[in-house]
Amino acid sequence: MDKMPRWVDIALIPFINLILALIVSGLVVLYIGENPLEAMAIMVNGAVGSAYGWGYTLYYATNFIFTGLAVSVAFQARLFNIGGEGQAMVGGLGVALVCLLIPFPHWSMALVAAMIGGALFGAAWAAIPAYLQAKRGSHIVITTIMFNYIAASLLVYLTANTLRTSRGMSNESDRFADTTFLPSAYEMFSGLGIPFSRSAPMNVTFLIAILCCVLVYLLIWRTRLGYEIRSFGQSESAAVYAGIKPVRITMIVMLISGGLAGLMGINAVMGEAERLVADPVQQAGFVGIAVALMGRSHPIGVFVAALLFGMLVQGGGELEFEMPEVSKELVLVIQALVIMFTGALDNMIRTPVARAFAKFSRGDA
């Protein structure tokens, strides 16, 4: 078979998928009697049309970068980590414990400690399914899904009992101390002349997410461990031949993956809510799967896909608010269509595009 140019694989095909998803979404909007073009304009405008919109879009994108990277790293070793949701929740718990238990003099120290706490807790939550996969052969897809439910129940229990605030009726922890509050985008960027909204939740964690993209890239493509991870992912039997130990790789990869998911807790728990709520992750762990699929498990792709999904979430929220006919469920349908087209139906587009390119390049020759 002919090889397609790389840009077709990483740019054109996802783009076509996205357009198809939007066309189908437009038909749905048309069906309920609204103008699809107008809906589209509201979504885009809501997501990137204002400093306020950007502040939310990038906040969501930060979450998705962490969970998307988590899925990507595991996928390099052909491990399908569906547990990003649970690992991010438990990571959030780690962040919350650090912030609640230790009196920090300055936010920067709190941030470093919270990174360690979030990553350790997330990694620990991934370690059990990883061990069961590596040593017992229990399929990681099943165990990580189950661990999502356990994590969700654990957080509900803790926020309703052990960690529950004494003030107010809601199921959440006490508010963290002021010294743990992370600088918002407004505080960080207004000095540079970029006017971010004061009320949007985007914060310094966004920079950590970008740093993680770079580190993951270096890990996978520039280090010996990354080489071993990719080898193992491509062919377990060949990896064993080369003396790479499957148990070791499975454990390490899942710890890194869980740690990345856990870091999401900083953004959601420390950066936004500033307390532990019962569901700090809000499905971002699952969106991370779509982000990784669409981003081809490459950090740059993950970054772009996370941005897109951030726009969808923020723009979708605005759409729901602006168009009375458009319900919350319909916004979910639109998001689901994008996930379906970019992730699950990828091969539907890939084959004809590949064929078209084969024909095209033969015509050239």
Binding site: M1, D2, L218, R222, T223, R224, Y227, E228, R230, S231, Q234, S235, S237, A238, V240, Y241, A242, G243, I244, K245, A358, S361, R362, A365
Partner: protein
């Protein structure tokens, strides 16, 4: 002259820019055995796949018994009286012989009448063609020779008049292969037409009436077998003169490098695959392990290469190596000077999706040459090292950035050999070094192995190709059913004796 059983006219087929078949014409007369030979990638399999309906030709015509026929899928091929016996059998392991034979050719929803009919038909075929099999035996319980007979019976049951066999003797012992050829002669005598695809020149000379040679997608010659010679055929296949015999000096073995004592391996089901192997290899000699595949050779290779655990003793240069613990992995083996060229380069030796340079450091990626500092690998250095090795081992194209999957079988094998041989290992363990490799590359690979021996390396060679064992080895050990049946010197034995040992007949019985 009667009409041809099969006539192909102007068949062309391209995969992208690769012209797999170019204007192929071939005519096979009924009641003959027609051989097709050619190197890997010459287009034999593509041509047969077109005939059997797996692919559609871009252009050209297929005439069966003088009728223009379109074959869009295998069912149409079967309808036209074509039967195919694949290299890898397509049998359901836990079905009986009878169930496999009617599978896909049942007469109705209820099985009983079909089975009864098949049983009668099978009996007739068995008598007619010397094709005896127990209809109620489970496939997983009968040997490969038997399984192949089931495949032939399957085709005959579907009233095939034309039988295509793709590399049928790869898995057979010499006596089994002889039996197969007797069956083919019988079929031919009954007027069946047989197309035999093989790369073994000896078989072509033995059984075919006519032989067609393919090279790079083209049919370069069709000759009467009686009028040709193996040398001529080899030259036609490769396009230049080839040395069929390997040139080598007598071995000068010195100290013992590898000593194996009472080595035992059990598989996952607890079945003993190696049942107490003892052998030794000295520096500067090649010990050849002959045997039909599946008699424990793979397990022996895997234990030596650090892939699977074992019990017993393996000593390299006088020190025991770990067979079960932390030090029993491939990395530890490499540190002890053991290089392993695995039997199956696609599943073990290479990562097909990786580029050539990534494959050339594979297994040796801890070497200082490949590290820039403690954390980061030196990819540029790895690419340069790979380019040098590919140059010296004549890998074509010598481009280290290309994915391994884009190289031909022979060049893939050269990539593996370049990686393992240039380390100057103490012991080279090599399995099926020329499986799926074209004749031109075989010559080169054999020379490299002998050159390594002459440098003082101990070589353990496992091969199912008796010719290869006989021409390369300084000593030959024959494996059967997880044991060594005996050792012979290559100049004091012949294929007949080795064939008997491979079939499990030991000395006393053979005499």
């Amino acid at each position: 002259m009667s009409t041809a059983a099969i006539e192909l006219k102007g068949i062309s087929k391209a995969f992208g820019p690769v012209q797999a078949n170019k204007d192929i014409a071939i005519k096979v007369m009924p009641g003959t055995i027609h051989g097709i030979i050619g190197e890997n990638g010459a287009g034999k399999s593509t041509l047969m796949s077109i005939l059997y309906g797996f692919y559609q030709a871009d252009s050209g015509e297929i005439w069966i018994d003088g009728k223009l026929t379109t074959i869009r899928e295998p069912l149409q091929a079967i309808g036209a009286g074509i039967g195919m016996v694949f290299q890898h059998f397509k049998l359901v392991q836990n079905f009986t012989v009878l169930e496999n034979i009617i599978l896909g050719a049942e007469d109705g929803a209820l099985l009983r009448p079909s089975l009864a009919k098949a049983r009668g038909e099978l009996k007739r075929l068995a008598e007619e063609y010397e094709l005896n099999v127990d209809p109620d035996a489970l496939i997983e319980e009968i040997g490969v020779g038997m399984q192949q007979r089931v495949e032939i019976l399957k085709a005959l049951y579907r009233q095939a008049d034309i039988l295509i066999l793709d590399e049928p003797t790869g898995v057979l012992t010499p006596p089994e292969a002889d039996h197969l050829f007797r069956i083919l002669e019988g079929l031919k005598a009954q007027g069946k037409t047989i197309i035999l695809i093989t790369h073994k020149l000896r078989e072509i000379m033995e059984v075919t009436d006519e032989v067609s040679v393919m090279r790079r997608g083209e049919m370069v010659a069709t000759v009467n077998t009686a009028d040709t010679s193996p040398e001529e055929l080899a030259e036609l296949m490769v396009g230049r003169k080839v040395l069929l015999r390997v040139d080598k000096k007598p071995a000068a073995p010195s100290r013992t490098v590898l000593k194996v004592e009472n080595l035992k391996v059990r598989d996952e089901d607890g079945v003993e695959r190696l049942r107490g192997i003892s052998l030794h290899v000295r520096a500067g000699e090649i010990l050849g392990i002959a045997g039909v595949s599946g008699n424990g050779q793979s397990e022996l290779l895997e234990v030596l290469g650090g892939i699977s655990p074992a019990t017993g003793i393996i000593r390299v240069n006088g020190t025991d190596i770990d067979l079960t613990g932390r030090e029993s992995d491939g990395q530890s083996r490499r540190k002890r000077g053991i290089a392993h060229v695995p039997e199956d380069r696609h599943h073990l030796g290479l990562i097909l999706e990786f580029s050539a340079w990534e494959n050339i450091m594979f297994g040796y990626h801890h070497d200082a040459d490949y590290q820039k500092n403690r954390l980061i690998m030196d990819n540029r250095s790895a690419q340069e090292i790979a380019a040098g090795k590919m140059e010296r081992f004549d890998v074509r194209p010598p481009n280290p950035m290309l994915s391994a999957k884009n190289f031909s079988g022979g060049n893939q094998q050269k990539i593996v050999l370049a990686r393992e041989i240039e380390r100057n290992p103490e012991l080279l363990v090599v399995g099926q070094p020329t499986r799926g490799v074209d004749i031109g590359a075989i010559e080169f690979i054999h020379q490299q192995i002998i050159a390594l021996r002459d440098k003082g390396c101990a070589v353990l060679l496992v091969s199912v190709e008796l010719d290869e064992i006989l021409s390369l080895s300084d000593r030959i050990a024959v494996m059967f059913d997880g044991q060594i049946m005996g050792e012979r010197m290559p100049d004091q034995t012949d294929e007949r004796e080795l064939g008997l040992l491979m079939a499990g007949v030991s000395n006393g019985e053979a005499a």
